[in-house]
């Protein structure tokens, strides 16, 4: 018990406290001065930061300036002011949604939610189909089939998405094939938002279906044969056996896989970088990456995005967790 507590404190609680602290403090106001700067192309008056004055502020308050929830409410995050202006200015709900879509966080949320709620059910369905398929194979073929079904998960996400990225390029195998199919030489998967979303979703399903496959396949080995047999004697078709015996048996596993995948898909990141799709689709995780990779790092903004991600995951998982809790309580009672 004690080691678990210490580990949880160190690896879960402390980082969260640190991120929350960083998100409510920002760097001090910079003291700017104008100076004469020279480089190989000539001299020019330019603005720089007065280091002495700034260093003093820093030593007085090393954490930075306390700003409360300002970062959470700014345009890069929840955009409270922009939201109310948009609400007042818009004439219809459609117009409001258009304006909402112009704010980075809401646009990213739009994609992330669509991605999460299409990929998760699809990967559950595909995983189950593959598991049923593999399970009915001859035992000599099973090993090979399992290996190939797991490949998408073995390939690191960044590499997998890069490989696909080049294939769907307008000069790549899939890209050219689609152009030929629709006889439109200008058709480009990467230039259209809708097609980019579809591509990312297809990639998401391709990458995560093996996970649900492997879990369901393990579950299939524990299906009680007597129940199946009696179902068969009662004249149940294969579909009815799956629907009324196998799926109910696997239900706890479905909840488990859905839980993990909702969490994973909400944090979608690698395919966005791999497919270079930031013009069409972004996510909260991508925001964090973007804030930290610019020439000027924005730690407070990245921290705020992290906290919002944690809250988002908690909200998404709440229904599933409540359900699991109820099941658990019911069993105990």
């Amino acid at each position: 018990m004690f080691p678990t507590l210490v580990a949880m404190l160190l690896f879960i609680a402390l980082p969260i406290v640190s991120v929350i602290t960083q998100s409510v403090f920002t760097p001090h106001d910079a003291v700017l001065i104008e100076t004469e700067n020279c480089n190989p192309f000539g001299c020019k008056t330019e603005t720089i930061i007065d280091q002495e004055a700034t260093a003093q502020r820093r030593s007085e308050q090393p954490l930075g300036k306390f700003v409360g929830l300002d970062i959470y409410f700014d345009r890069g995050h929840l955009a409270i002011n922009e939201l109310s202006t948009a609400w007042e200015a818009s004439e219809s709900v459609g117009d409001f949604l258009d304006r909402l879509n112009n704010l980075p966080l809401y646009r990213a949320l739009g994609f992330t939610l669509v991605f999460t709620f299409t990929v998760t059910p699809l990967m559950l369905a595909f995983g189950l189909l593959i598991a049923l398929g593999v399970n009915s194979l001859h035992r000599h073929l099973k090993g090979l089939a399992i290996f190939f079904s797991l490949l998408p998960m073995i390939v690191s996400p960044l590499i997998g998405s890069l490989v696909l990225y080049w294939m769907i390029d307008s000069r790549g195998v899939i890209g050219s094939a689609i152009q030929w199919l629709f006889s439109d030489p200008d058709l480009s998967l990467k230039a259209s938002t809708t097609l980019t979303w579809i591509m990312l979703i297809v990639y998401g399903v391709w990458h995560s279906a093996p996970f649900s496959f492997v879990v369901f396949y393990a579950g299939l080995q524990t299906v009680p044969q007597e129940t199946l047999e009696s179902a068969r004697i009662d004249g149940a078709s294969r579909w009815e056996q799956v629907r009324y015996v196998i799926i109910p048996h696997l239900m706890p596993l479905v909840t488990f896989v859905a839980l993990i995948q909702l969490m994973d898909n909400f944090r979608v990141f690698e395919p966005i970088v791999g497919f270079r799709s930031e013009a069409h689709a972004t996510s909260l995780s991508w925001f964090i990456f973007n804030d930290l990779s610019g020439e000027t790092r924005q730690l407070s903004s990245a921290s705020a995005s992290s906290v919002l991600t944690i809250i988002g995951v908690a909200v998404l998982l709440a229904p599933v967790l409540v359900r699991t809790w109820k099941d658990f309580a019911a069993k105990r009672a």
Partner: protein
Amino acid sequence: MKLKKIALATALVTVSTVSWAACTINDRVNIIGNEFPAIHAVVDGAKACTGAEVKSNLTADHQKLNVAGMTGTPAEYTSAIIANSSIVALMNEDVIRPLDDLVAKHGQNIKKNQLITIDGKIMAVAFMANAQHLVYRADLLEKVGAQPPKTYEEMLEIAEKLRSEGVVQNPIGGAYAAGWNLAQEFNNMFLGYGGEFFESGSANPTVNSPAGVSALNMMKSLSAYMNPDFLTHDSNATNAEFRAGNVAMMNMWGSRAATLGTAEGVSQEVADGLAIAGPLMVGEGKTPASTLWWDGFTVSKNISDSEAEATFVAMANGIAPERMDDAMSPLAVWLIDGYEPTAQAQGVFEAVNMNTQPYPMLPYMGLMHTALGNELTDFMQGNESAEQALADAEAAYMAAAKEKGFL
């Protein structure tokens, strides 16, 4: 063949060690910098010093590592190789030291125009210049009887001819990938139209201006002649398109233009047709639609004086005039004494002669660059007006600048 190469390499190494064997240092040196041939050449020179260990970490991710690696005391990296955009982050965090004393003691081979002075103090020593300029296919332009363009308006006319006469389907290349590249192309065009990024002396943005709108509209017109995937093409992908013979004209970095025709798999036609010219003008602007860049080295603040001295001596050896041989000269447009410009350097030289503006060295320019890179994509896809895209970019910038204490 292999033997010959080995013999040649050995000969080169022997010759080179002889010519700058004089460099000795007595403390550790650790260099972080970007990864391209010219920087490798400089760092190799620094490593030729004897007496103490010279380590290096050259990577495209150097900007994510250098501030962190120079913040502690003693700093992990004693020197960072940076450009005029990336020195700002080091200045903002106050991790580099003034070099006046070291230049006075060991800088006899450094020319005055290599010294980057900020507020009267030398903060970096530049060794190469860079700029984006026109790279084109002389053979394709000849087919439609066109002279190489001097302005973007001419480029559009030639592109239309090339397309309508069936020479190339997408004649214009551009590194318009969403993010840093797209913002950089906007910066070029914006400065070309005479735009100013900020109110003078403050961090208030002024990109939502007539110059900004014209710049965006010009970029939109150009993109109609590009590969439809242009929002995912960075300079590497754009070069690949050029090498494959799919592009007739593009705005490309001088440091990358030199090796365009020599890479593996480039057809003879492309290699022969490759031609370089100065940057293009646009609209009624007085300076070209491009920016000037320098690359140079800095010395960490949080290290001992003896480490700083060793670092400076080693780096000065890396850019010593004696090292300007046939292998090093074509790699970049060097600012080093004794450098004879090669044919590939012509584009960058033109850029300097045409008074191209240097990339702005302001504490908050990085934030503006990021904001532009994220917010201009909607306009390029035709989802919103130029004014709206620029207003969004300003709003995104202001949120970031407030956070960093600039507004």
